[in-house]
């Protein structure tokens, strides 16, 4: 039973008839947390291994890129790609896997919206490399820098080149589904995988292309147990400024900038439950074009001040707006990066 999703348009593989559909799990520029989250589905991992022939999962088992290159187009039924498009290697693998897969899933926040590594887009590539290689805590007396291409007696060597601007998966290939989260909650991962298995078996519907799986249709407030009232904000506080927060009342109402109202639900509102404000790891709500814009609009709308000086005073309570509104979503936002990332690339 082969699904019709996937944009490559070429015929399904006939090279090696396989009883089980093939699954590839690839971490691009990834912290590995998404892989851990998958393993964290506990015994369900057996169900996954039973349902699929896992052809690539570098974190967990040996596998070679050449195996993938040797496959026919569309031979892999489902590929989960976590991690962001940080280097030319990750971009290349994403494109390779796209060609070889019928369904490509953007797995986790890095792939879907850039996540924390996306904040590297606030500086130029040169500055990032300089900081990594010559900061006061680095022992690099000769100021060596990585060279992407160098000639050696044996030939020309290439390093995967650090892309000037970090990209999300869907900025590099066409993506069929997205599973958000940093990492996606394991129960949601299993729910999504189960749905895919059912669809492949024909016992369940295949979600429409472009769907977000493993998450809700609303935002974190929907799952948050705190009591909500109308919002009238007189000041924003930082979590370390206040001795304790009322455990029953909405955190935003207490002045703590909580991104819950704009963040997709599905995580169970775990952070607000312990008085930690939602920082937005599950990404934007359905149909939202720019996550940060939604938060900016919402917060500014409920600030009570009307005089410019008073408004400024309240907004001073958010000293790092990009960090607050785009912590996970910068690479996937409308502007994608700050100006220095693309303008100062050569410097």
């Amino acid at each position: 039973m082969s699904p019709t999703a996937g944009s490559n348009g070429t015929a399904t593989a006939a090279a090696k008839p396989s009883a089980k559909p093939k699954l590839a799990i690839f971490g691009a520029a990834s912290c590995g947390g998404c892989d851990v989250a998958i393993i964290n589905i506990h015994e369900h991992i057996v169900d996954v291994a039973g349902a699929f022939d896992i052809v690539l999962w570098p974190t967990v088992m040996d596998g070679k890129y050449s195996d993938i290159e040797a496959m026919a187009d569309g031979e892999i039924t489902v590929t989960l790609v976590s991690g962001s498009m940080r280097t030319s290697e990750t971009v290349h693998l994403a494109r390779l896997l796209r060609r070889k897969s019928q369904i490509m899933v953007s797995f986790g926040s890095c792939a879907s919206e850039g996540c924390i590594p996306g904040l590297a887009n606030l500086t130029s590539r040169k500055q990032i490399i300089d900081t990594a290689f010559s900061t006061s805590s680095t022992d690099n007396p000769e100021n060596l820098r990585p060279v992407w291409e160098c000639e050696v007696p044996e030939g020309v060597l290439h390093l995967p080149e650090f892309e000037p601007v970090l990209r999300t998966l869907d900025q590099v290939v066409d993506v069929d589904y997205t599973i958000p989260g940093c990492p996606p909650e394991s129960n949601q991962i299993w729910a999504a995988l189960e749905a895919v298995v059912k669809a492949l078996n024909g016992t369940g519907p295949l979600p429409p292309k472009g769907s977000v799986l493993g998450a809700g249709d609303s935002t974190v407030c929907d799952e948050c147990a705190r009591k909500r009232d109308v919002k009238k904000i007189d000041q924003f506080v930082r979590i370390q400024q206040v001795a304790g927060f009322d455990p029953e009342i909405c955190l935003l109402e207490q002045g703590l900038p909580c991104n819950g109202p704009a963040t997709r639900n599905g995580c169970g509102a775990l952070c607000p439950a312990v008085s930690a404000p939602c920082i937005g790891c599950y990404g934007a709500a359905e149909g939202v074009v720019d996550y940060g814009a939604r938060l900016m609009s919402a917060y500014a709308s409920v600030v009570q001040a009307i005089k410019p000086e008073e408004i400024d005073k309240v907004l001073d309570g958010i000293p790092d707006p990009v960090g607050q509104f785009y912590r996970f979503s910068l690479a996937g936002s409308l502007l994608h990066s700050s100006r220095s990332a693309w303008q100062d690339d050569g410097e």
Binding site: S66, V230, R294, S297
Partner: protein
């Protein structure tokens, strides 16, 4: 849906075609925007003409168009014209977009190439927007035939009588104990010198006794909810402590009341009234009011004279304010003006120098029913002045106070000059900047006053002082003025000075405006829908304005506006139903998390929170379509018709697809790593 878009570029004679290359614009649209769905692009001399509109109608029918873009004048002029033409062609009118390349382009730019480039961008923006337009139906609302008129001055009374005479119910709410407004305070009216009370009181009585009029005096509007055709207004009918059903207006209570206080409202502080009082003898209704803060019964539990002498047993000290809820279809605001407080000009001495009077104080002096029985005397109540100065433009035409002209003060000052001449043998001098006498009979009145022998000094008065410097000035008020026609400074001693103070919006005008959903200008005058063509309507459907609430004007203008507002209301009542633009916001409950951020976004209280479902909800009938909640929702769970996210974002894309030079702009791409291929050997 496959878009089949028709583009129509109007020449508007040479208004557009003289600057924008309209033929090129149409050709460009047909060619470059073909991949965006444009199947036909025409240019025509006058799109708003019948043949122009027929182009649209016929093309829809013959070419199966499903979207229309007209590039012409402002949507405020002809959006309806083209939407109607679209509807005649069988297409939903809301699938037609009118973009302005006239007011926004050909009329404001001189560089033809740049103007044509901009027109391309505007057109592209319109095409992208219309691709995302959705068919909509106007919303029909029923019109409640009852009307609320707020303010019982001459404008409000005019409006009330027109509507009531036409057979429909009017609630006339007035905050003072009697209707009549400022006009009731005047002695004579210019230019006819009709006695104000004589021409006003028949109308007051007519309003007070009309079977279709419910008079609610000593009452104020507290809250307005709802929308055109269906307003719910909460009115507080303050306690008079007199039972209206029992009182027969005999006036004995007033006679017998032993307590007097200064009457600062009707008598402008020139006279006194009783604590139980009607503001003036011809008050409508004739039912008195007890001034509670000054009444000894309420202060100490004593007196009760009124109760003792009332044959009808109408005094009721236990009476309480009543809260009434009125259901009306339309509202006319006619709340009038306040006089500029002349104390704000300390160099004119009002409030400090006893014989400096304001215009309203002088009206009361002149009035036969006033505190001096119509005798023009000084503040001591007996001395007749020998010299009177009348100062124009006090607080008007003055950038330190109000920049505007108060329209009536020149005529009022001439009237005062005439009355002084008529009733005393004083010498009168008018101190003016210009003589503004535009109305019917006004210039003739000026001629008449000139001939009666008054003095006229053209110059803005610098100071009015009692500090004598020269012989003959002791005990007098000295007006220091530059006589611009004589070309010198003058000091002119006067016995009495009258300040023609300007007109200002009522204190509390801005709060009133907020209450009724009116717009007010920065200085507080209500804003009409169009200053030339729609002076009695406001931007809020169902709320009209008449009289001085929108700016200084004379009595004929106020009466005309009252009648005009009434005519508009009667037109609505006749039609029984009205169509509203379907620009509304909706909460998509399945995406709403109940964060309640939108709950404080709506000044019309259209957004509520449904506790049981945990989602917010927008009452479409009350939604005015501003879209603020659509922008505020952090989940993107609120959508707005007519100005949806998709439409605006598409319009932005379209506007930017054309560079400043009319070509597709050069855009750079984000830098990427060169050569994303990887050495196989390293990875294998």
């Amino acid at each position: 849906m496959t878009e089949r878009i028709g583009v129509y570029v109007c020449h508007c004679g040479s208004n557009i075609a003289g600057v924008v290359d309209v033929a090129e614009l149409a050709r460009w649209a047909a060619e470059t925007l073909r991949d965006r769905g444009v199947v036909i692009a025409r240019d025509y001399k006058f799109m708003c003409s019948s043949p122009g509109q027929e182009l649209v109608t016929d093309d829809i029918k013959n070419l199966g168009l499903n979207r229309i873009v007209v590039a012409a004048c402002s949507p405020h002029l002809h959006e309806n014209t083209f939407r109607t033409a679209t509807a005649r062609g069988g297409l939903n009118p809301y699938l037609c977009e009118l973009v302005s390349i006239r007011e926004q382009d050909s009329w404001v730019h001189t560089d033809k190439a740049a103007a044509t480039a901009k027109a391309k961008a505007i057109l592209a923006g319109g095409v992208e927007r219309v691709r995302r337009s959705e068919p909509m139906q106007p919303i029909k609302v029923d019109i409640n035939p009852a009307t609320l008129v707020v303010g019982g001055g001459i404008a409000g009374i005019s409006a009330t009588l027109e509507i009531a005479d036409a057979g429909f119910k009017v609630y006339l709410v007035e905050k003072d104990p009697s209707i009549g407004g400022h006009m009731a305070q005047f002695d004579k009216t210019f230019p006819t010198l009709d006695c104000a009370a004589c021409i006003l009181t028949p109308k007051m009585v007519a309003a007070g006794t009309h079977p279709n009029v419910e008079l609610l005096t000593w009452s104020e509007v507290e809250k307005v909810e709802g929308y055109v055709g269906n307003f719910t207004v909460t009115v507080r009918k303050k306690a008079r402590y007199v039972d209206e059903d029992l009182c027969n207006g005999c006036g004995v209570c007033q006679e017998k009341c032993p307590w007097k206080v200064l009457d600062e409202v009707f008598e402008a502080g020139m006279g006194r009234r009783k604590v139980i009082y009607t503001p003036f003898d011809q008050a409508v209704p004739r039912i008195p009011v007890i001034d509670r803060p000054n009444c000894p019964y309420f202060k100490k539990g004593t007196c009760r004279a009124c109760e003792k002498f009332c044959d009808a047993n109408a005094i009721d000290f236990t009476q309480e304010d009543q809260i009434l809820t009125l259901e009306v279809g339309n509202i006319i605001i006619a709340t009038g003006y306040d006089l500029f407080d002349a104390r704000r000009i300390p160099q004119y001495g009002y409030g400090r120098l006893p014989n400096v009077f304001t215009s309203l104080e002088f009206e009361r002096l002149c009035s036969a029913a006033g505190p001096t029985n119509g005798n023009i005397v000084l503040r001591d109540g007996k001395t007749a002045p020998k010299t009177v100065g009348i100062v124009h433009c006090v607080g008007s035409r003055d950038k330190n106070y109000n920049g505007y002209c108060s329209a009536i003060c020149c005529m009022q000052s001439l009237k005062f000059a005439h009355l002084v001449k008529e009733r005393t043998d004083a010498e009168v001098t008018n101190f003016y900047i210009d003589m503004r006498t535009p109305g019917k009979g006004y210039e003739e009145f000026y001629e008449r006053v000139l001939e009666e022998g008054g003095h006229f000094v053209r110059g803005k008065v610098a100071e009015i002082t009692d500090a004598a410097r020269l012989p003959g000035e002791e005990g007098k008020l000295i007006i220091q003025v530059e006589d611009t026609l004589a070309g010198k400074q003058r000091r002119i001693p006067m016995d009495m000075v009258i300040l023609s103070a300007g007109l200002e919006p009522r204190a509390g005008a801005k709060e009133l405006a907020t209450q009724f959903g009116l717009s007010c200008s920065f200085d507080g005058w209500a804003i009409e829908k169009h200053p030339k063509l729609d002076p009695v309507a406001t931007m809020t459907e169902g709320v009209f304005i008449a009289g001085c609430v929108s700016g200084p004007k004379d009595i004929p203008a106020s009466v005309a506006q009252g009648a005009a507002a009434a005519a508009r209301v009667l037109g609505r009542i006749q039609q029984k139903q009205m169509s509203l633009e379907p620009i509304k916001a909706t909460v998509h409950a399945e995406h709403c998390s109940g964060c309640r951020i939108c709950n404080t976004m709506c000044p019309y209280n259209a957004i509520s929170f449904l506790e049981a479902d945990g989602v917010s909800f927008i009452n479409a009938a009350m939604c005015q379509g501003c879209g603020t909640c659509v922008a505020a929702c952090p989940a993107g769970a609120i959508s707005g018709t007519g100005f949806s996210d998709e439409q605006v974002l598409a319009q932005i894309e379209g506007l930017l697809r054309v560079g400043a030079d009319g070509e597709r702009p050069r855009r750079s791409a984000f830098p990427v790593a060169r050569g994303e291929a990887i050495e196989e050997a390293v990875l294998a």
